[in-house]
Symmetry: C2
Subunit: 416 residues, 2 copies
């Protein structure tokens, strides 16, 4: 499939993140206005709340599900309604749409540059996985040595832990360097201090769009995923090293998790489905994929010191993941764990096999032993105050791209 | 302080869980009625939603915060409002209250035996700790040997992990035995099956009643806790053993967590405050308690096979905890993690030093090696289908008790 052309010319540029093929969902405000649901197209945001209120584009015949500062109620409608809505909106925005319809859209839209973006959905619960083999191998090697790099269970299940939904923030939100218990290798006892090894993690977040109350098959799990965002799982490595045994990361991951502002729907990504890499061990049937459920999404990490130019410190692809979000969701529900609309599943850090494809500073600087050199000439092992980290991602089509928009955050100094 | 006498005679019996000194908060329905907020007193439930609607006992002069099937909106009002409401209700229920007031209460109340109890609050997020020293030592000895029983960080911080809020259910809800990945010590690869080592954990849950957005002192944390419930953290030990390294328990703990139906307020427990045990290592200042913040609460675990009499398999006391809920909440917020109204913090399993004071079957049967004998003559290492587990707890006053009501659940067979 090629570019679907829109009468909105800005949507047809090959470098545009938001062509008609994309139509990602977000929440925006302009000035002091209420928060509204919006859809990005070209350089504009279509006011989905306004179109619904005017009766021009209802998502549900029975209720105003978009009269809310989040897309959760829309998600609850289910997969058929998601498709119907997307098809109707696509028709209104496609080249050749009635002039009257075009006028309605122009009336009910604003330039992206005039809008403030907010959390696109209410996060019910947040789970983070550890499902990239290169990342797990790298971190395992540093923490436990090369012979114990991959834990024995790793090739049999997507290892995950519950994170903290309250800490999820939208792109652009500053992130304050955390304090915590720190204990150096040669210290007898821990001390209290600001994290000196504050890190980023490049991930993709999957958003659960349908509730369930029992074990899901991988296909059911795939069908229940509404869409995806970029996700930066900020991590205090020094807090993590001291706290994480035996029950896993806790405060090291609780300061903030940043997501991009636009939900890219599973439907928009459909042409970019790819298979997970070959299995090194056979999976139990409940985790086997009936078809390709990963996506070919090019990813990069930018790091900019305060007031200076950005360096792209890593480039990789979502296709590096060993487990798809569908497999993760199937595993998550395997014990009967109820899943809810708005649950967010972090993929785990996405690293490729080579140094320049690693999705965290822990890996890029090999635990702080091999500093990166930024284009500005500065070195970096971990994040410094003022650093802005920006994740970017896009599925690359023929003459168009399905972009995610930035997932950015600046590190603020620790509290006094 | 002794018993506060009520004109409702059933509240004055020494064995009553709900004397005037208690006044725990729950949510109830009668027949097909809507869910309403209620307060237990003697053998009745005062309809707090109804009293508010009638203008007889407003919690907030500006809004009907009790016109909801949960106490979250009430909690948001804050500590002063909590106290004011409790004082007003106490006055209406105390011996000597006006006959007109007594008539109002009788009109707006129902017998407990006629009511169905529901979740008393909406769980925002659920965190489970591992803060009982006897439990951690027992489990650590079984999992890692006696020399590595307590992890090196254990005496320096309350170890915790994020659990799954969607899995929290109210007392009386059946619990289905989970499936999961299981791998015996001599197996080469895991298989899929129903958990054969399904267990209970005796805990107390603390409910966060005020939101925060940065590190809390222990005193602030104490002040933000609204109340407490009994909590059974159902655990599939065989799933846990295979999955928990390196990122902690996940599906082993996600099937269900049962809480008792009544929130016993911190204010009701005030006369029962006790100190945590002596420190084996000094704590960092951010975790030091300015005063006694544990409670003297007698606890017991009952186990009844289908259709048979119950055996009390353990008796212990909340005072065995090494860390209080206030310390746990302070630690939880230390990284800047935002805490929200309705967050639930499990204490960790409460075990005493002796076998009969252990709060899990894992400990009571020493990993399945030393079966318990029930009063019925049956043996138990772990839970069998049909078993009903009931936790009970009460702070024992002079001639009265602050009871929690039961925290019960029956184990249903695994899905086919």
């Amino acid at each position: 499939m090629g570019l679907r052309r829109s009468w909105l010319e800005s949507a047809n540029a090959p470098e545009c993140d938001f062509p008609l093929n994309n139509l990602p969902y977000g929440v925006f405000s302009v000035g002091d206005s209420d928060l509204r649901c919006g859809v990005a197209i070209g350089d504009r945001i279509v006011d989905a709340t306004g179109l619904e209120a005017a009766g021009l584009l209802p998502a549900d015949p029975d209720a105003d599900v978009l009269d809310a500062p989040y897309w959760n109620d829309f998600m609850e409608l289910g997969r058929e309604a998601w498709s119907r809505y997307r098809a109707a909106l696509t028709a209104m925005l496609a080249e050749g749409a009635d002039e009257a319809v075009q006028d309605q859209i122009v009336t009910h839209s604003v330039p992206i540059k005039d809008a403030t973006l907010h959390m696109p959905f209410r996060v019910s619960e947040y789970t983070d996985f550890y499902a990239g083999r290169h990342h797990a191998t790298n971190v395992g090697t540093m923490f436990r040595g090369p012979e114990n790099a991959l834990p024995p269970n790793w090739l049999h299940m997507p290892i995950g832990y519950n994170g903290r939904a309250s800490s999820v923030v939208v792109s652009g939100t500053p992130v304050t360097r955390p304090h915590g218990q720190l204990k150096g290798r040669d210290d007898d006892v821990p001390h209290w201090g600001a994290s000196a090894r504050f890190d980023l993690e490049l991930e993709i977040g999957a958003i659960v769009g349908q509730a369930s109350d029992g074990p899901l098959s991988v296909q059911q799990a795939f069908d229940n995923i509404f869409g995806y965002v970029l996700l930066n799982d900020w991590s205090a490595r020094d807090i993590q090293a001291w706290e994480y045994q035996p029950l896993g990361p806790f405060q090291a991951k609780a300061t903030a998790t940043t997501i991009s502002a636009w939900i890219v729907t599973a439907e928009a990504l459909e042409p970019f489905r790819i298979s997970t890499p070959d299995r090194l061990e056979p999976l139990l049937p409940y985790l086997q994929e009936p078809g390709p459920m990963l996506y070919d999404i090019a990813l990069e990490v930018g790091l900019a010191p305060t007031g200076k130019a950005e360096t792209v410190i890593a480039r990789t692809n979502y296709g590096e993941m060993y487990y798809s979000s569908a497999q993760q969701l199937a595993h998550h529900s395997s014990s009967g764990c109820p899943m809810r609309v708005g649950d967010l599943l972090g993929s785990g850090t996405i690293s490729g096999p080579d140094r320049e494809t690693r999705g965290s500073l822990l890996e890029l600087s090999w635990g702080g032993k091999e500093p990166l050199t930024l284009d500005t000439g500065e070195g970096r092992c971990f994040l410094e105050d003022g650093d802005t980290v920006t994740l970017r991602g896009a599925a690359m089509g023929d003459g168009y791209r399905i972009g995610f928009g930035p997932c950015a955050g600046q590190v603020m100094p620790a509290r006094p």
